[in-house]
């Protein structure tokens, strides 16, 4: 392990194990500023902006006018800016350090993407502008669509879904539309393996399917025999995550797809973990009928509060006719938007619309920039390095933490550990909280459910070996503290702006609305 501070010098740390705001008049700790709620800073009696008198006139609200003050805090612009800037300093971001959340692909957002997205021809346009004034933007959408289809080996892509789960819904609605078109209304059961993403069963249920679980094998993969045994005339299809949430590739996916197709069903693949296989495997070759692609994961658009998600869905030839409107089409005269039914045009198969407009333009330009700046060799290396980094973490930790699937071979983009072997009273949660003191956002915990006390770590390809070594050093340090039963870990984090919160109380007695006298126990 590399040592980051060979001299051993450390700044003195105040109040080891004490209250976070101890000792200073303001509650601040040097330049880490304590911050009150916005309602406590701004009075509802003041306002930061002077509005002119509303013009007198007859109200059209038919007696529905608000009669009481709205109760918003009145802050000046500098007060507002400082409030949110102070809060942001108490937060963690990919621009601050490694973000090991599993199945989330928290990779670096290249600044070149930002520059391209801010070009006025992309940034300052409106979805209702005449199409002959936005030809460049439509061409960018069409190019991105081309590369997504090429990278996945599919037939078509629906660009409008706004994020992963929205994309799942799009794909599952396409499956439902295809079944309805064939009159197969008895197929109303969706099979979802235990190793699939948690959103999959919710999506299937939302689209009107009943959900049945398919168990995982002890090796963390889909139980193919159990899945095949369940196929029949009531099965609409299967939703598989590949690579799955145990960080493993499903090598039997082609075999599964063939069996599902033979039984009259469709295969949805959750593409959240596409980062591990981009440029290496084309899901279309594995018999997938629909897969969403998280542009905010694999294709590096901002993620986690940094920007909207975007979840285009690639479709097989069987599902392409049912894709939602609108879409961009290249014609001899340039690009056009295919939107509504017209006298000349019928889109009999389409299941409708997912969104009001055409998708996340700002994310399309970023993702296209990422694809073009990486090229085929670069994208291939993305997959290879993300898998290499995850395996480096796996092998660097397996002597301190139980790694349930490490014996069966390498992992894909994420390494998974369990709480097996931790002493009585110590849990995955303690390790996660301990990592906060070490300056890291914790990994995904307690998911997937098939691993007891799961810790799911996805480092991504954008971390250097030095960055990984530092993270591994911290992770090992915290894991060893847990294994040695160090009592202080039970109350970690000690150095965060807030100490360990009482999650049980917060869930049992949630304080959902701001009140002047909030219960004392809800404050911390």
């Amino acid at each position: 392990m590399s040592t980051i501070n060979p001299s051993g010098w450390r700044p003195t740390t105040p109040s080891q194990g004490g209250e976070s705001a101890e000792g200073t008049f303001t509650g601040n700790r040097a330049l880490m500023l304590e911050e009150a709620l916005i309602f406590e800073i701004g009075s509802t009696d003041t306002t930061g902006v002077d509005f002119g008198e509303a013009p007198a006139g007859k109200s059209r609200l038919a007696g529905m006018e608000r009669s009481k003050p709205i109760g918003l805090p009145g802050l000046s612009e500098p007060e507002t800016v400082r409030h949110y800037t102070r809060l942001s300093r108490q937060n963690y971001a990919i621009d601050l350090g490694l973000f090991p959340l599993g199945s989330c692909t928290m990779k670096h957002n290249p600044r070149l993407n930002e520059r391209m997205a801010r070009l006025p021809g992309f940034a300052d346009i409106h979805p209702l502008q005449p199409v002959d004034t936005v030809q460049g933007a439509l061409e960018a959408i069409d190019q991105l669509a081309h590369w997504l289809i090429t990278l996945t080996g599919m037939q078509a892509v629906a660009m409008s879904p706004k994020a992963g789960a929205h994309g799942e819904l799009c794909g599952v609605l396409a499956i439902r539309a295809a079944l309805d078109a064939k009159g197969e209304t008895a197929r109303r059961i969706m099979l979802v393996p235990e190793s699939a993403h948690g959103t999959n069963p919710a999506t299937a249920a939302f689209a009107g399917f009943a959900v049945e679980d398919i168990p995982a094998t002890p090796e963390g993969r889909v139980d193919v025999a159990a899945l095949k045994a369940r196929l029949g005339p009531d099965i609409a299809g299967v939703m598989i995550t590949n690579p799955n949430t145990c960080g493993l590739f499903e090598p039997d996916l082609k075999d599964i797809s063939d069996a599902v197709h033979a039984a009259g069903g469709y295969v949805y693949c959750d593409g959240a973990n596409f980062n591990a296989i981009v440029g290496r495997v084309r899901p279309g070759d594995l018999g997938v009928d629909a897969m969403h692609i998280n542009l905010h994961k694999t294709f590096s658009t901002p993620h986690g509060g940094g920007g909207p998600g975007s979840g285009p869905v690639v479709l097989s030839a069987a599902l392409a006719p049912y894709a939602p409107l609108p879409f961009v089409e290249k014609t001899a005269d340039g690009y056009r938007l295919v939107e509504e039914e017209t006298a000349e045009e019928h889109h009999a198969g389409t299941f409708g619309r997912m969104t009001a407009f055409h998708g996340q333009m700002g994310m399309f330009t970023r993702a296209l920039t990422y694809i073009l700046s990486h090229g085929a060799d670069g994208l291939r290396q993305v997959a290879e390095d993300s898998v290499l980094n995850a395996n480096y973490v796996l092998r660097s930790m397996e002597d301190v933490l139980d790694a349930p699937f490490a014996k069966t071979g390498p992992c894909m983009h994420e390494a998974i550990f369990s709480d097996k072997g931790l002493p009585e009273g110590f849990s995955t949660l303690d390790i996660a909280k301990g990592l906060i003191d070490e300056g890291y956002h914790p990994m995904t915990v307690y998911f997937p459910l098939v691993v007891h006390g799961a810790m799911l770590v996805e480092p991504t390809e954008t971390e250097s070996k030095a960055a990984l070594d530092q993270f591994i050093g911290a992770f090992r340090n915290v894991a060893m503290k847990a294994k040695q039963g160090e009592a202080a870990l039970k109350s970690a984090p000690h150095f965060a702006p807030r100490r360990r919160l009482d999650e049980t109380l917060a869930a049992r007695k949630p304080v959902l609305a701001y009140k002047d006298a909030a219960p004392a126990e809800a404050a911390e």
């Binding site: 307690y446 459910l449 999650e503 049980t504 869930a507 049992r508």
Partner: protein
């Protein structure tokens, strides 16, 4: 009175025509602090294996399945305000619902206490 157990960690105690259903000590220990419980309404018809109730802890949300078929006669109203009862006394005060049985022979497929303890010890 006799008590039966399922592989999904529910217990069912039959007393005359009415059976009481809850989750086991092992289930509550695995779930951790329980923060929310949704029990079925009186009169709800359940088939064996149906989703009957929902239990949510700080770690996970899980379904509780009907161990046998029948009709719900009462949900445990105390759990709405005090879900911690399930942690404190899962096989007593923390019961989920009471039901009548439509097919007593379904009980034959369930485990008795000794068999359930042996089942849990292998997990």
């Amino acid at each position: 009175m006799s008590r039966y157990f399922t592989e999904d960690h529910e217990w069912i105690e039959v007393d005359g025509d009415v059976a009481t259903v809850g989750i086991t000590e092992y289930a509550q220990s695995q779930l951790g602090d329980i923060v929310f419980v949704e029990v079925p309404d009186e009169g709800k018809e359940l088939s064996k294996g149906d989703d009957a109730a929902v239990v949510e802890s700080v770690k996970a949300a899980s379904d509780v399945y009907a161990p046998v078929s029948g009709t719900v006669v009462e949900g445990n109203a105390d759990l709405a305000d005090n879900p911690a009862l399930v942690n404190e006394d899962p096989e007593g005060e923390g019961w989920f619902f009471k039901m009548t049985l439509s097919d007593e022979s379904e009980l034959e497929g369930l485990m008795n206490e000794a068999k359930y303890q042996a089942f849990v010890s292998k997990l």
